[in-house]
Symmetry: C2
Subunit: 203 residues, 2 copies
DNA sequence: TCCTTTTTGTATCGATGACTACAAAATATC
DNA sequence: GATATTTTGTAGTCATCGATACAAAAAGGA
């Protein structure tokens, strides 16, 4: 017995995808209910009956973003043959993803609520947790590279992970400011050119 | 004949400084008139009589921020003996400024309106212009270093400038997420460790 | 003292924010 | 067809947004 009453007149996944694009472009606070319902093609009562609230809709949109847009950037960190290849892939894929078609420029996780305080601490905390998870992911990969002999034991894995994650966050600002794919790739290339110096000297 | 009527009951500079802190902490949209007037210790009519509007108050706050907080980071780019010293000073001073006392963490120019669209395009454009001015400043300094023989003629000055500015933007996100001064200094150190590789190979 | 000028506090404006009450509409079950 | 259940659109809730009208208060110039 899946559904009894009147069937829903719209596709939940499609509506969520539209909401994600609005949040991605405008941020959490700047995305009004009027903006959301217009983009989703539904009225406010349908939104609340389906997603609960603006905040929970945003959380679902974040989860969708991580699952679709973010996966291409981060999913191969574990499987890449070397830590160097993993990070190089992250940066190059970031440059590509941030300048892809009509999608908003830059990362939703970085740009959607950067004030880190205000009316919605849940929102800020969730985004911050996602950002820090990426740093931890890189750090773990670097530590594995040390264990596997790719990098020397003196490698400061946390510092290097923080460094590359910081650059990747900065690329969101550059992308939102209109940087081209070539510009972002050149930035990634600059960062990778220091790899040997970074992983051989001082801990 | 400086003043005729009832004298102003508050200090304009001090009130502007308070407003700057509110905008710096909360961003442009999230800073409500109630927040501003409470922090400035004045009522709304005094604010509008003195500063014109919320938008012009913000623009004055940005100018004050650049003049006070930002000057320590960027003012010595021209006067530093080498381009390397200039950039190293920018990054190290950034780490120090972003973790100084009770001030908000991270750069107001980066964090106050990152959505780059919405109700106030003037605000977004002004902040974007400030960000890009810093990139141009670094690029000019690097070109001068090429002319003076510090760097080879094959140096890709624009790419290197974009790279370091991007990292500096990312440090705002890290600072707002709670990164310590030591963490930010380690990030700056990682970026500088690639200097030789960055300035000797490929254009 | 009276008049002009400017600032002050109070109280409010219309617009918009997120959110919901309610009844008509549309389906499954009986 | 009758009833129960869920979704739909309309209209509206209260709170807050940025911005002001207005008159009392506080100063200088006559």
């Amino acid at each position: 017995m899946p559904q009894r009453g009147r069937p829903r007149g719209f596709d939940r996944e499609e509506a969520l995808r539209r909401a994600m694009e609005v949040f991605w472009t405008q941020g959490y606070d700047n995305a009004s209910l009027a903006d959301l319902t217009r983009a989703m093609g539904i009225n406010a009562p349908s939104l609340y009956a389906t997603f609960g609230s603006k905040e929970s809709l945003f959380q679902e949109a974040v989860a969708l973003y991580v699952r679709t847009e973010g996966s291409g950037i981060w999913e191969q960190v574990e499987t890449a043959p070397t830590a160097r290849a993993a990070i190089e892939h992250v940066l190059n894929t970031t440059a590509e993803a941030f300048t892809r078609g009509p999608a908003p420029r830059g990362c939703m996780i970085v740009l959607a609520a950067p004030q880190m305080q205000g009316a919605n601490p849940h929102i800020c905390d969730a985004l911050k947790a996602h950002r820090q998870a990426n740093g931890c992911l890189l750090e773990r990969r670097l530590k594995r590279a040390v264990e596997e002999g790719e990098l020397p034991a003196s490698t400061n894995c946390r510092a290097i992970a923080n460094y590359y994650v910081t650059l990747q966050h900065g690329m969101s600002i550059q992308a939102r400011d209109g940087a081209s794919r070539e510009t972002l790739l050149a930035i990634a290339n600059c960062a990778m050119s220091g790899w040997n110096a970074l992983t051989t000297q001082h801990g």
